[in-house]
Symmetry: C2
Subunit: 428 residues, 2 copies
């Protein structure tokens, strides 16, 4: 754990830099995968399925079948739980829905913007030991609210060639039927460029490991992507008015995520500053082994406890970190909300631990990481629509204003642009 008293901006930035690891070793491999899947289609895809997946399916077996869906069995309260959460997520995301707008000018022109849902989207759901059905929910709900017609899910199969029943059940509840059993860079490539068996999508969303992240960065531009996700992080600002146990538990809820997860506590309370490391240690020791191991490593590398005299300074530091999750565990959190400039999602007060947001109180949990909250936002309905500009210029406005445009075109040296105006002026 890293303990800091009244750090400067440079102290904080240095710490953050240490966390940015170059992923360049795998870049050449990922490039090759994308190139080959793009050029060779199924032939290359099948080769990579054999090489990288835990169970080597052929391209013909990639799609989850109706039989597989019929076999799915989960705890009884799973369905009930998920249905409630879907409603809460929809409640929030529906308020993000944009509407087309237009206005008319005095001269009779029509200017506007038309909101159109994307036609197709691919959701990448990470595999591995954890069945990330919550991430599937977070990606699918805004796409559904936006009105995307074709929503595709892709996730790597387990050792038996199967997908987690939790993930399949969520697909069933949401009505998603095109589910591919593939992960990694080859899945991203197949969804981006299409193969004989995989129809391409317009945009790919959802987090993944280093292969997936790099692949998304490389295909970006040819298809849309949501963001370049890095390891997860939380910053907790506390004044000592919230029990230490809560702070320690929230600290570890981030730390258990992966070895590069970062948990930062910034406190104005000397008591918290002094006692918190011990309380975290206690909580840590009581975690089941696997979670404990992960949390120990990330806490040791990127667990940070900062003391500052001044609550405003605490927010300055937090804005510099631009954390994915920001908990404001202070007496009157709404009174300091205006201090927040950079953060993905903010959690206010005693009962709003990050888990509440992770699992569906309303806002999305696919959030900007690694300081990208400086310039980007969590996944939103708007990420699943295009805004198309619409102009109808009236004869009257054309008479009045078109001379401005031909002038500007000529100042820029674009004669043919000017002539497209002139030819119409001459016809008047």
């Amino acid at each position: 754990m890293i303990i800091m008293r009244n750090p400067t901006d440079e102290d904080i930035l240095k710490l953050l830099e240490r966390r940015m690891k170059a992923a360049s070793e795998v870049e050449e491999i990922v490039k090759e995968i994308i190139k080959r899947v793009k050029n060779e289609g199924d032939r290359a895809l099948e080769e990579y399925l054999k090489r990288f997946e835990k169970y080597p399916l052929s391209v013909r077996e990639l799609l989850v079948s109706e039989e597989e869906m019929a076999e799915v069995s989960v705890e009884k309260d799973f369905i009930e739980t998920v249905k409630i959460v879907i409603e809460d997520l929809k409640e929030f995301h529906q308020r993000q829905k944009e509407t087309s707008f237009f206005f008319t000018t005095d001269g009779g022109s029509f200017l506007g913007e038309m909101v159109v849902p994307l036609e197709s989207v691919g959701i990448y759901v990470p595999g591995g030991k954890v069945p990330y059905f919550s991430t599937l929910l977070m990606c699918a709900v805004p796409a559904i609210v936006a009105g995307v017609e074709r929503i595709v899910v892709t996730t790597p199969p387990d050792e038996k060639g199967k997908v987690s029943p939790y993930i399949l059940k969520v697909c069933e509840i949401l009505g998603l039927k095109e589910i591919y059993k593939m992960g990694g860079a080859h899945a991203i490539a197949a969804l981006s460029y299409g193969t004989e068996t995989v129809k391409p999508v317009d945009k790919i969303v959802g987090p993944g490991g280093v292969f997936v992240t790099l692949a998304k960065k490389l295909v970006y531009g040819d298809v849309g992507i949501d963001s370049i996700a890095g390891p997860s992080e939380i910053t907790i600002i506390t004044d000592g008015s919230i029990p230490l146990d809560f702070v320690a538990a929230d600290f570890l809820s981030q730390a258990e995520h992966d070895e590069n997860a970062m948990s930062v506590v910034i406190t104005t309370s000397k008591e918290v500053f002094e006692k918190l490391p011990g309380v975290i240690e206690e909580h840590l020791q009581s975690l089941p082994e696997e979670r404990r191991k992960t949390a120990e490593i990330s806490t040791s590398n990127f667990g940070i406890i900062v003391f500052t005299d001044d609550l405003k300074r605490a927010f300055e530091i937090s804005n510099l970190i631009a954390p994915e999750h920001l908990e404001i565990l202070v007496e009157k959190p709404f009174e300091v909300l205006s201090y927040v400039k950079n953060a993905g999602s903010v959690f206010l007060g005693r009962y709003t631990c990050e888990s509440v947001g992770d699992y569906g109180a309303g806002p999305n949990h696919v959030l900007p990481t690694f300081r990208s909250a400086r310039f980007s936002s969590g996944l939103r309905v708007s990420d699943f629509t295009k805004k198309i500009f619409v102009t109808h210029f009236s004869e009257e406005d054309f008479k009045k204003k078109s001379v401005l445009y031909s002038r500007m075109a000529r100042w820029e040296g674009f004669e043919a642009h000017a002539r497209a105006v002139d030819v119409r002026r001459e016809s008047l």
Copy 2:
């Protein structure tokens, strides 16, 4: 020119693919530039200024000085023209402004989304022969409307180490004072990571050549970028009700842009289909030499005239192309607007040539190219704000719902996430 009757989707896609050029030759150079500017700061930057700029300024001379600004002299009607256009652009972009929202639940929770402007933005204005002041307008106006505090401009100097007076005058009118005389990949790197003399920004917008585009793709994630801009394109759908001269002029207004520009006409009129190539040729020959040369090359490579019997099919083809600009030059354009699924900006009717939109009728002219209108939109106010999610969960809602979240956490195997809920439940 490429002439097609009733083409299939595959015919169209094949044509489009031919246009996608690999930029991989310069990738290694651009990577090196970014790495060195990031690690060595001014020292590397100065080296690249000497190597790549037309006039080798030292880092100390990078900022446009007050004296330079005082010397700027432009045509009298330039200022007047630009001021009118700024007002029209603001009129449109102001309607894109998002507002924070929140709602409360029956249980007393507060859920919302807070709109916060980016703190700093860099606008890249391409250099070369054309003083792209219109692009500067298009990038700066939405940033100003969004409320961005620090707006930086960077543009390469000419042979005398100067910046176009048009660009400087627009900066003056808009109140932009931090203007760097640098272009290319090193400018992108300096703005992304900062050097001793250049303070970094949170996001970089604006189009550029291959070095700039590649650099933007590489820094994406560390800073925000608007998009990966490719060469410009127009698709014109016409039923023969609009004079051929207009169509030909608009076709060429795109073709003059650069050698990779693409102009497509899709028509349901046999007369247009037969006569248009001749009319385009006539117009082409009358252009001044330099514009003519460029337009000749792009017309020969990527000028496409398509006949189809069916207006609906014309829109299908256009949606497949997903053009940056779409002119609908038909009798009743509003009646077919619903057919548009993929396009950056749509221009309806007789008097709405693309130039009208390029030079400031209202909507932005920084638009998705190269089929990216399938998943992205033109530059908007929203590109200059972050949306931060805000959750305050009430004790009542926590009592009622938190058990869902701890369950879900355990189904995913995240014990510490569940415990952050449990520790609060136990305190109740």
